[in-house]
């Protein structure tokens, strides 16, 4: 449905190059990348609010770059919501309706009522934006964007300004909404855990380019570059010299699944894929003895740093397991991981 080809954007200090994306109808597509990587500028370019230097954006085959923003049928919801401060909630939501001449007044009233109940805005109709909480403002912004029945909805970091509890609530709401409409949703975020909670497919932007695109699960499990691996939270990422299916990291030797042509590679293991035990497990190829260097409570699990020789491994242990094993700082423990959980990333 959306097909972006060889897009180049230059805006002040932002430079995006060779952006190619294919997004299907009714997809929930996520664009990820560190803060300041130009994700918002990319959304604004798709909406027509920023002009690209070169390249094409096609929707259903038509190049929309020459179209002015009001003719594109693309709604955008900003991180700071950007509600009109001089209009009340209903006036904000209805703003876009007067430009839609095709629908009848009755239909418009119906869709207004549907959105108000769907987004839980009943009772707030006459309130002004400054009197609303962050979560309420965001729901109004979403209603305002949806009432014009856009072909594409652009979401600019919709979760980052919400506190954690509202975040989960909003994720559920957003998924329901996506299932109930035919709108294609394009969301940007700098947080990979948000991405995986919401979308199926996505792309990672870094250094003004697309670093990887595809299924989020694939990006999570098989990052193609060190930058992407770092971004998706592979904390155990080591530079290794590889020879005969053995990766050597300082004094630690890890068995690999197959041979690799390169001699210098990165080896990555997810913290949650490393098993921790107080006794040596039987029949595991990659098992190492180390001691607990640091324990950090992270809400519902513990983040444990285990030193094996000179190398720091990070392991996640649940609240319950941690207390059952009675782990202590300085204690000797064994860590082990399956050969299939080792990810080899090119330099």
């Amino acid at each position: 449905m959306i097909s972006i080809q060889n897009l180049q954007i230059d805006l002040g200090d932002f430079h995006l190059r060779n952006i190619d994306l294919e997004i299907l109808e009714n997809e929930f597509f996520i664009i990820m990348g560190p803060s300041g990587s130009g994700k918002t500028v990319l959304l604004e370019t798709i909406a027509g609010l920023v002009l690209p230097t070169s390249g094409e954006i096609r929707i259903d085959g038509q190049d929309i770059v020459p179209l002015s923003p009001e003719k594109r049928g693309i709604s955008i919801v900003y991180q700071d919501y950007a509600l009109f401060p001089h209009k009340n909630v209903v006036e904000n939501i209805q703003y876009g309706l007067r430009f839609k001449k095709s629908t009848t007044v009755q239909k418009q009233q119906e869709s207004l009522q549907t959105l108000i109940s769907l987004l839980d805005l009943a009772g707030l109709e006459k309130r002004y934006p400054e009197t609303l909480s962050g979560g309420e403002q965001q729901r109004v912004a979403l209603a305002r964007a949806l009432i014009v029945e856009p072909k594409i909805l652009l979401l600019d970091e919709p979760l980052s300004a919400l506190d954690p509890r509202l975040r989960e609530e909003f994720i559920v709401r957003l998924k329901q909404l996506h299932q109930n409409t035919t709108t294609t949703i394009l969301m940007v975020t700098h947080d990979f855990s948000e991405a995986i909670a919401l979308g199926i497919k996505g792309a990672v932007i870094a250094d003004g380019k697309i670093a990887q695109t595809g299924k989020l699960d694939d990006i999570f499990k098989r990052p193609k570059s060190v930058m992407v691996a770092n971004f998706v939270g592979m904390k155990n990422l080591f530079k290794a010299t590889v020879k005969n299916r053995v990766a050597r990291i300082d004094s630690v030797q890890i068995q690999l699944e197959r041979e690799y042509p390169e001699s210098e590679l990165y080896v990555a293991i997810r913290p949650e894929n490393i098993a921790l035990s107080t006794e040596r497990p039987i029949g595991v190829t990659n098992c190492f003895c180390g001691h607990i260097e640091q324990v950090t409570a992270q809400g519902f699990y513990y983040d444990i740093n285990i030193k094996v020789g000179n190398i720091d491994f990070y392991v996640l242990v649940s609240y319950g397991d941690f207390h059952v094993m009675k782990l202590l700082r300085g204690q000797d423990v064994f860590i082990s991981f399956k050969i299939s959980d080792i990810h080899v990333v090119g330099c």
Binding site: G48, L49, P69, E70, S75, I76, Y78, G96, R144, V148
Partner: protein, 261 residues
């Protein structure tokens, strides 16, 4: 800030000096004439006519500034372009240039030796010694004040509001009229007030372009020159009293607008 701090006390003393320096001459001038003098002057038809002319011409200048200055202020607030600094420098010129020089410069282009002057003469428009001339001079000195205030107002509005409006289907003009302008209204009104205040206060340029018909400052100057300080004061008191009341009313109006919105 601890109120007893030495630094803080020093600052208060300096502030008090400035406030007294500005307020004392004006308060004294208002209190100097007797009530009888004031009543006498307000029945002087010449005085009334000059004050009305000042107010009328200044309002015209402020409205012209509003009409042609608003788009420029908006462009300056929203767009980055080459030569922007030059344009801002040009807009500052009327503040920098000595007032009689402003008058001379305007007479220069509207005189019969210059093409513009010839065109104006053929159109029957007279600048020298006319109300038109007074309005032109007032607009010249007042417009920078309006543009600066309006620009600040526009800058304070998030461009995202306009972007959202456009993505919802509104044209640029509709967006400006329904989003940008209503939100910048307070700054625009402040700009109009500042512009008319500056227009009313002008003397040096007008005395060169149009000594007659007499605006209030020229009349005050003439009375001072012909009859001395004592005879110029009552007229001055009336002029600034009217100005202050008008500006105060406008300020209150804008302050209320803020509260209700």
């Amino acid at each position: 800030m601890q109120r007893k701090d030495l630094f803080f006390r020093g600052a208060i003393v300096c502030a008090a000096i400035v406030i007294v320096f500005i307020a004392l001459p004006i308060v004294q001038m208002i209190l100097a004439p007797t009530l009888a003098d004031l009543v006498l002057v307000i029945f002087d038809k010449e005085v009334v006519r000059s004050i009305l002319l000042s107010l009328g011409a200044a309002s015209c200048a402020a409205l012209i500034s509003f009409a042609v200055g608003t788009p420029l202020a908006y462009l300056l607030a929203r767009c980055e372009f080459r030569g922007k600094q030059l344009v801002e420098g040009i807009i500052d010129l009327p503040i920098i240039i000595p007032h009689p020089v402003v008058g001379i410069a305007i007479l220069g282009v509207t005189g019969r030796n210059y093409w513009l002057g010839k065109v104006l003469t053929e159109l029957g428009i007279r600048i020298m010694g006319s109300v038109t001339g007074i309005v032109v001079v007032m607009t010249f000195v007042a417009i920078p004040f309006y543009i600066k205030a309006a620009k600040e107002g526009f800058e304070a509005i998030s461009p995202r509001l306009e972007k959202v409006s456009r993505s919802l289907g509104a044209s640029m003009l509709h967006t400006f009229c329904h989003i940008t302008f209503p939100l910048a209204w307070r700054s625009i009104l402040t700009g109009i007030i500042m512009a008319s205040a500056r227009a009313i206060s002008e003397f040096g340029a007008i005395v060169i372009v149009a000594y007659h018909p007499m605006i209030a400052p020229v009349m005050i100057y003439e009375r001072f020159e012909s009859y001395g300080l004592k005879y110029s004061q009552p007229v001055a008191v009336w002029l600034i009293a009217i100005c202050l009341v008008l500006f105060f009313a406008l300020r209150v109006l804008t302050a209320q607008r803020k509260k209700t919105s």
